[in-house]
């Protein structure tokens, strides 16, 4: 077959989910793997950046303070204030800003040399963040509308003929409690997973064609490398977008739990 001839010779091992498993860094049986190292490094870098930017505030900001302020202000204005509103949104600015920059650091490590692995493609990290968001928006809904009021507003939105509620109420319950956190976590993890896999495929495929290919294959390998370079830039864009989407959806869920009728 032509696919056999071009892409997958007998020696080529296509990258798969196995490339996302890492051995422990320090000896056998310990739990500290490369994704955990990336989490630690990302946390330290983000914390150091914001600490350095806010350590010595001046009325006329310097370069570093300006960078920190614009990064903070961007998330604050375009995500939190726009979706929740000025009055109630201020309380959630620290959480959403932390969420955005933590996810951004973990995502962007996928295209940083040496690290080269998006730690958020491990499902545990997005799942944990999604659980925190889930607890916060349910807590906000229950504390602002009361336990009965929250469930009533969620399952029985007004303005619908009553027979529809037999269908709508279970769907809304299912959607709010299971679908939302599930898709929130799975979207981030699978976007990073698929992007990293595509990059691996381009680079490893180009390398295999160059070193082991026969006939015309070595001359086709620049296509693989070129695809890898272009997709790296595309990945950078996707990684920023996914951090934005995660933070925005968390803010929108909080905003939805806050109002009595949506």
């Amino acid at each position: 077959m032509s696919t056999q001839l071009l892409a997958a010779g007998p020696g080529f091992e296509a990258p798969g989910p196995g490339d996302f498993e890492f051995p422990p860094l320090f000896g056998e049986g310990t739990f500290f793997t490369k994704p955990m190292l990336i989490v630690v490094i990302g946390t330290i870098v983000i914390a150091a950046f914001f600490y350095a930017a806010a350590r010595n505030p001046r009325l006329v900001p310097g370069k570093l303070q300006f960078a920190g302020e614009s990064a903070y202000g961007l998330v604050r204005n375009s995500i939190v204030i726009d979706s929740i509103g000025t009055k109630y949104g201020k309380k959630f600015v620290p959480y959403i800003v932390t969420l955005f920059f933590f996810i951004l650091a973990l995502n962007i490590s996928g295209i940083i040399p040496v690290l080269q692995f998006p730690a958020s493609s491990k499902i545990a990290i997005p799942a944990f963040l999604a659980i925190i968001s889930w607890i916060i928006y349910n807590w906000v809904g229950i504390s602002r509308q009361g336990f009965v009021g929250y469930f009533k507003a969620m399952m029985f939105p007004p303005g619908v003929p009553w027979p529809i509620y037999f269908l709508l109420a279970p769907l809304e319950l299912f959607s709010t409690f299971i679908i939302r956190p599930f898709t929130l976590a799975l979207r981030l993890a699978m976007n990073m997973f698929a992007g990293h896999l595509v990059l691996l495929l381009c680079i490893l495929g180009g390398e295999y064609m160059l070193t082991e290919g026969t006939g015309a294959l070595p001359f086709l390998s620049p296509i693989g490398f070129l695809g890898g370079i272009i997709l790296t830039f595309f990945e950078g864009f996707i990684q920023i977008l996914q951090a934005y989407v995660f933070a925005l959806l968390s803010a929108l869920y909080i905003a939805g739990a806050m109002e009595a009728e949506h």
Binding site: Q4, D82, T183, R187, N191, Y244, L248, L252
Partner: protein
Amino acid sequence: MDGSLNMVGYGLAAIGPGVGIGLIFAAYISGVARQPEARGTLQGIAILGFALAEALAIIGIGLAFAL
């Protein structure tokens, strides 16, 4: 090449969300073109719709690797 049939299935399954995302952003663009001051409101709604449509494709690739 094992798992290739899964990927063919995933490619077919991604057509639907692809069309949906295209429609969502087409509506967003024409909305902003008609009323540029509504951009902030529309952006949130557009990203929300995009994320919901994309979730289908994402579940698809998750299942393509899991099953």
